[in-house]
């Protein structure tokens, strides 16, 4: 029997986390992949990762790309420093460096990120409130389209995590 899309997606996340661990590359999942892992009923065509732009990280990134059977990271446009890796994974990986829209830095996002278990691996995932902040700042049509459901998800999460009222 063919694997379901949910199984393929889970395997993709496990392979991603395993490769990051293997090359010791510290990365935070951002964007709509982070929204999904935070429980928002959305989907995406890429996995976005935020890393620090350092020499050692550039070398680790090249090893990471090999680890996932991927291409050398390629800049998606001259106007942007985002790089894309095509790989054997179900979706391409996009690499962002140092900060994302809204002035959110790597260290700020990391301090609020959650460690999410995927299979036997762990992934650092940006907090949903930070994904919303970043999308509000980016304010592209695709961000505006998804913001209402992200805000609703945050409201539901807050209610579920709040201590029960007497």
């Amino acid at each position: 029997m063919d694997a379901t899309s949910s199984e393929i997606s889970e395997r993709t996340l496990v392979a991603l986390a395993k490769a990051l661990r293997a090359v010791r590359l510290e990365a935070i999942v951002i964007g709509n992949s982070a929204s999904m892992l935070n429980g928002a009923p959305v989907t995406t065509q890429t996995i976005d990762l935020l890393i620090r732009d350092t020499g050692p990280n550039r070398r680790k990134l090249a090893r990471f790309a090999k680890e996932i059977g991927g291409s050398t990271p390629v800049r998606i446009s001259e106007l942007s420093n985002i790089e894309s890796i095509e790989s054997a994974l179900a979706v391409p990986i996009e690499i962002h460096y140092d900060r994302i829209a809204g002035g959110l830095t790597f260290s700020f996002l990391r301090s609020r990120a959650q460690l999410v278990t995927v299979g036997r691996e762990k992934l650092a995932v940006a907090a949903l409130a930070d994904v919303i902040r970043s999308k509000e700042a980016a304010n592209r049509p695709k961000d505006r389209a998804v913001l209402p459901i992200l805000r609703d998800t945050l409201a539901v999460k807050s209610k579920l995590e709040a201590p029960p009222e007497d």
Binding site: M36, G119, T153
Partner: protein, 93 residues
């Protein structure tokens, strides 16, 4: 009752009693459908959580609330469903 052991631990350990009353009780439970299936338990949990939260979040569409609650009740790795591009250029979930 075994000292220092709670009901859950005793259940896991299992009973030594093989009484006919116990066998009859097991048969009765089985006739009622036995242990609920995982999907039924998830559906029930979604229904309960939505019923509790809907009055507190009237601005959220009930259909969206259901989707959000369902996602939040799943383990994180099962929440993700990527939109994938097939070799023939079509996109699939």
């Amino acid at each position: 009752m075994i000292a220092g052991m709670n009901a859950r631990q005793m259940g896991r350990r299992g009973g030594l009693s093989k009484s006919s009353a116990k066998r009859a009780a097991a048969r009765r439970n089985g006739a009622r459908g036995g242990r609920p299936r995982e999907v039924d338990r998830l559906a029930g949990k979604i229904r309960d959580v939505c019923a509790r939260l809907a009055p507190q979040l009237p601005q959220i569409d009930p259909g969206d609330l259901r989707l959000i609650v369902r996602c939040l009740l799943l383990p994180p790795a099962r929440r993700a469903v990527f939109l994938m591009r097939r070799k023939d250029g079509r996109y699939v979930f």
